[in-house]
């Protein structure tokens, strides 16, 4: 019986693969574009850091950041909102225990582990911060840097025990506030051109355009700043870091506390 089931499963997999593969190979999804017909990509890449066409450039040598936040800024903004809402709904599910102190009073791991972790924690945070702040120069950016930094609080909870996080100054309500401020920062960075240009600009505008006169900083000393990209990366990094911090804070509650949430209505919840 078990053999039969496995055979059926394998046959099904092969059939599904063939159903997808054969139409694709026969050109069912339309003609596959050649290498030499990509004028759109060429146009974007040519104008990303082109000092001779300053009407179109984004002032950022990093083309991915420029396309993600400048040319397709609204896309990324919606993605950020989706992530933000996902974490909010995750928090709502656990609303009974949010901000509560955990009942476990552990001391954490041994002193050797604690010292080593303390040193490497600094490294993690610095790498994350530099990924965020150099998003317009090097590969990386807000989400990447935020995700790297998010590893730090998780390690803190495990190595230094939950008590340190519960008694630290970075309380639940503060983290939520910082996160909301970061999202507000993204929205404001997108809107500031309109506010300061008195309507003679558009949202997510980065540099000066022919019809407008607003411009975010292009260079600071001799470092290309990428204009609004730097600010957007910074706020995105903060928002992602705080979001992951909140999510892990909930997941790593001890069992007795998190049970309260899932016990059900018959126990009065």
């Amino acid at each position: 019986m078990k053999k039969h089931r496995e055979m059926i499963f394998i046959t099904l997999l092969i059939v599904i693969m063939l159903v997808i593969l054969i139409p694709t190979l026969l050109g069912g999804i339309g003609p596959i574009p050649h290498g030499d017909i990509r004028p759109l990509a060429k146009a974007y890449l040519n104008s990303t850091f082109n000092i001779y066409i300053k009407d179109l450039w984004t002032a950022s040598p990093e083309a991915v950041a420029a396309i993600v936040w400048d040319y397709r800024g609204l896309d990324t903004f919606y993605e950020t909102i989706v992530f933000y809402t996902a974490i909010v709904s995750c928090l709502i599910l656990y609303r009974e225990i949010l901000g509560k102190r955990d009942i476990s009073k552990g001391e954490g791991l041994s002193i050797v582990v604690k010292r080593v972790t303390a040193i490497s924690l600094l490294g993690i945070l610095v790498v994350g911060a530099s990924t965020v702040l150099h998003g317009m120069l090097t590969p990386g950016g807000g989400f990447q840097g935020g995700a790297i930094m998010a590893v730090a609080p998780v390690i803190v909870i495990i190595v230094f025990s939950r008590l340190l996080v519960d008694t630290s100054r970075l309380s639940y309500s503060k983290v939520v506030t910082f996160r909301n401020l970061a999202i507000l920062g993204i929205a404001l960075t997108a809107l500031i051109p309109i506010i300061l240009g008195f309507g003679n600009a558009f949202i997510f505008q980065n540099q000066y355009k022919r019809s407008t006169n607003f411009s975010y900083p292009t260079y600071i000393f001799d470092v290309p700043m990428g204009g609004s990209l730097w600010f957007l990366n910074l706020f995105e990094g903060l928002a992602v870091f705080m979001a992951f911090y909140l999510a892990f804070n909930i997941i790593l509650y001890s069992e007795e506390v998190s049970k309260e949430v899932i016990l059900g209505e018959e126990y009065g919840y």
């Binding site: 991915v64 590969p139 995700a147 892990f248 997941i251």
Partner: protein, 85 residues
């Protein structure tokens, strides 16, 4: 020549990653399965790097090698380490 070498390395890494995926599926010890999937993620990070997507590598390493195994370990701590047959 360089391009062919890179493609051969990409092929090799992909094959090894398939091996680790199979090991992760077969393994009855869930902790080992998480380790295998983390190794597979590391190999995928190499692939992305060779395919010239360094910005994806940065987020991929942090999430799939750092955060995802951690959540999974927390989960198996609650549901038990060994898969019942």
């Amino acid at each position: 020549m360089l391009e062919e070498t890179i493609f051969i390395i990409i092929g090799l890494i992909s094959m090894i990653s398939v091996l680790f995926v199979a090991l992760a599926i077969v393994s009855k010890d869930l902790l080992k399965a998480i380790m295998f999937s983390a190794v597979q993620s590391t190999l995928y990070a190499f692939l992305l790097f060779l395919l010239m997507a360094p910005d994806i590598v940065l987020v991929y390493i942090a999430i799939s090698v750092g955060l995802l195994p951690l959540i999974s370990i927390v989960l198996i701590k609650k549901v038990g380490r060994y898969e019942k047959t």
